[in-house]
């Protein structure tokens, strides 16, 4: 079937098999490879994307379900030379090691800061419960999110994004 949706701000369309997931379509057909196939059953969060602004496991979303919806991946968060405060903070604190979990973590964190610009550490932890990381031990990730929250709170002009 043909699906039409918005991918990172642009209208797109694709012919998909009904039994494919959003993750497979993003990676295989659109070559958006930032969401990763980690566990493929909704536990690790490496496949996290934002659908209509909400973090979801794209490995659990059947492709036809995104008809008419907005899908955002980390490519839309920022780009070289124009990084999102979260991405800058991640670099500073060393919150990315192998980088496999990173796209998912960034999107979960971006959604949190959009809805809750001044989260407590506990709130940050809860928002990242669905994103597993095997490398960092999470401390640098949490530091990065708190640092980004502080900075975003300080600037008056907000970057456009999710």
């Amino acid at each position: 079937m043909i699906i039409r949706f918005n991918l990172n701000g642009s209208p797109v369309e694709a012919t998909v098999k009904c039994n494919s997931t959003l993750l497979e379509v993003l990676r295989g057909q659109f070559h958006v490879t930032s969401p990763k196939k980690g566990c493929d059953h909704g536990d690790c969060g490496a496949c996290t994307v934002l659908v209509n602004g909400k973090p979801v496991n794209s490995c659990l979303v059947m492709a036809p379900k995104v008809q008419g919806k907005d899908v955002l991946t980390v490519e839309a968060l920022g780009e070289p030379g124009k990084l999102h405060p979260l991405q800058e903070a991640f670099i500073e604190t060393g919150a990315a090691q192998c980088g496999y979990c990173t796209p998912g973590v960034l999107l979960s964190a971006a959604a949190l800061l959009r809805d809750n610009p001044k989260p407590t550490l506990e709130e940050v932890k809860r928002s990242l419960e669905g994103n597993l990381c095997r490398c960092t031990g999470y401390v640098s990730i949490l530091k990065a999110v708190m640092l980004a929250a502080e900075r975003v709170g300080q600037t008056s002009t907000r970057r456009s994004g999710p």
């Binding site: 079937m1 973090p55 979801v56 659990l60 059947m62 959604a111 669905g130």
Partner: protein
């Protein structure tokens, strides 16, 4: 778990209830309903579910609601755990249900998973079921011919098995308005709260009148083959004050009554012990909420 590419199927995305029920009638016995997919898609990938037909009800906006009138609170089956946990009405009147939804999984799962799916998938660990049992929830089941109402307590005689007909759809969860002086609470034990399936969970709801329990509901899940109310523990509180002593007794009774299971997450002995603690803690939380 071995995951495969999903088997092929016919896929429908009806936009209204009437056509959904028609589809169910046409394809009865061959169709599976897809809501959030947090359970169903995993089963499809593991080839534990191989339906020729999938009916994706995600576009049925009319099934996504939380409303109330003088007598009842009504919840649509497509209400996600995220919506349920953040709902002011749930937090005010059915806090055990809001708490269960909040702990049902991490953010991503809560944005997809629905309370209807939680009930119909009838897993042992469905966190919203014990609070709904305490709230005396009834379910509206519809098919192309009409509708019927089934008490939640009678919906799933054993885990992963329900009385839902193969042409029926759950369309509403109905809860009687909790009377004044009523409070509820929910707790779950898992290796990572909000992420893992529960090892054990417990919910309780108490109505006080003249300082004694006029109504008492205690339900446990996850530790047992299917979520259940523990009548013996409830009876031990009826007509009595909600003191720490009485709570302790009720918790011990509840733990004695259940037949916990052993699996890779925990042994039955461990589950029995922690169920006692969870029941005690939810009752204590209720006591504090009632101003005790």
């Amino acid at each position: 778990m071995h995951l495969h590419h999903m088997r092929p199927f016919e896929y429908f995305q009806p936009t209204e209830l009437k056509s959904t029920l028609q589809l169910l009638k046409e394809h009865r016995g061959k169709a599976e309903i897809l809501a959030g997919g947090t359970d169903q898609v995993v089963l499809l990938k593991a080839w534990k579910s191989q339906p020729p037909v999938i009916i994706d009800i995600g576009n049925l906006q009319e099934l996504d609601f939380i409303t109330e009138d003088a007598s009842f609170i009504r919840i649509g089956p497509l209400t996600t755990h995220a919506t349920l946990s953040k709902s002011p009405l749930m937090q005010q009147k059915c806090i055990a249900l809001a708490e269960a939804a909040d702990k049902a999984g991490p953010v991503q799962i809560k944005n997809l998973g629905t309370v209807g799916g939680n009930i119909v998938s009838a897993g042992r660990c469905a966190d919203t079921v014990p609070p709904l049992l305490c709230l005396d929830a009834t379910l509206k089941l519809m098919n192309a011919e009409g509708e019927r109402t089934v008490a939640l307590s009678e919906f799933s005689p054993k885990a992963r098995s329900t009385v839902l007909g193969n042409d029926e759809l759950l369309t509403e969860i109905k809860i009687p308005q909790p009377p004044p002086n009523t409070a509820s609470a929910f707790l779950k034990l898992g290796r990572r709260i909000g992420h893992d399936f529960s090892i054990a969970n417990a919910a309780a709801m108490i109505t006080l009148e003249n300082h004694v329990c006029k109504a008492a509901r205690i339900a446990v899940g996850a530790s047992v083959t299917a979520p259940e109310r523990i009548m013996k523990a409830e009876d031990a509180l009826l007509g009595r004050e909600l003191t720490s002593d009485n709570i302790e007794k009720a918790a011990a009774l509840a733990a004695g009554e259940i037949s916990p299971i052993s699996d890779f997450r925990a042994s039955s002995e461990y589950r029995r012990e922690v169920s006692k603690v969870l029941v005690r803690r939810v009752l204590e939380a209720v006591r504090i909420r009632l101003g005790g």
